[in-house]
């Protein structure tokens, strides 16, 4: 039986990708903390992860004009605006630096958790290959 990385690693590789993208979005919010008119954005993790998982299977293309349902590494359509605690800041900016920093740290920890899961999976695979 061949080793299939997709089966062995499970959801964690997609989770890592989404966490990485979320880190980018939160970093972008932070640098625009003083930009007039900028609205803070974020993604719905559950929605995007289920999309990333289902994109593995996708629909079969039987004609060249069929739209590819799989190629979906683009997160742009999942971006949503954050609901601010303070609706009017005077310059139309809805970024709260404290919230963004906290979310960024939280996301970084979750990224490390995903990394640990992946690392353990690899350790398991190595053990199975060695047969010790």
């Amino acid at each position: 039986m061949a080793i299939n990385f997709n089966n062995a690693l499970g959801v964690h590789q997609q989770a890592l990708e989404v966490r990485g993208k979320r880190a980018e979005i939160l970093a972008n919010n932070l640098v625009n903390a003083d930009t007039p008119g900028f609205k803070a954005r974020d993604i719905d993790f559950r929605q995007i992860l289920s999309n990333a998982q289902s994109s593995r299977m996708g629909l079969m293309k039987t004609h060249k004009s069929h739209i590819d349902s799989r190629s979906n590494s683009d997160f742009h359509e999942f971006l949503q605006y954050r609901i601010p605690f303070q609706p009017d800041t005077g310059d139309g900016n809805s970024v709260d630096s404290q919230i963004e920093i906290n979310k960024f740290s939280e996301n970084a920890l979750q990224y490390q958790a995903s990394l640990n899961f992946l690392s353990n999976k690899f350790k398991g695979l190595k053990k199975a290959l060695r047969g010790e």
């Binding site: 990708e17 932070l30 625009n32 590494s73 683009d74």
Partner: protein, 138 residues
């Protein structure tokens, strides 16, 4: 890999805050620059930030970060003082002082410094995460 973009994003933020700190330094240094005509008087300068539009690189959306759109001069009225003994006084005995609000500039400086620190922290975290990712499975 999205984490690599964070260096660009945080870098753009640090550079923008650096420019903000520069204008603050210029404003504070010229807070007492007296001149003899209203047209030559120094006016407080402030940068205006703008979000860079998201771009699509290799079918993946890259978020742009921030850029300085321009530097505007404050439209607040300049102060006029009657000091006939001053060497720069005009024929009416008036001197013109800049419209720099020192308290506002100090608050600006602290804000710029804190945002800069936050950006450095973000870049540092991204670096650590990447290092751990690279050493995955070792």
């Amino acid at each position: 890999m999205a984490l690599y973009n964070i260096f660009d994003i945080s870098g753009s933020g640090m550079s923008a805050q650096n420019i903000r700190l520069n204008t603050t330094a210029s404003n504070l240094a010229n807070a007492d620059s007296i001149s003899s005509s209203i047209n030559q008087t120094y006016r407080a300068r402030h940068p205006v930030f703008e979000a860079v539009k998201d771009s699509v690189v290799r079918q993946e959306t890259a978020l742009g970060g921030v850029t300085v759109k321009g530097i505007i001069e404050s439209s607040a009225p300049t102060r006029i003082e009657y000091r006939p003994e001053h060497p720069l006084a005009n024929e009416d005995g008036n001197v013109f002082l800049p419209n720099v609000n020192v308290v506002e500039e100090m608050a600006n400086m602290i804000s710029a410094s804190r945002t800069y620190q936050a950006n450095v922290q973000v870049a540092d975290t991204a670096k650590k995460l990447l290092q751990r990712t690279i050493s995955l499975g070792q």
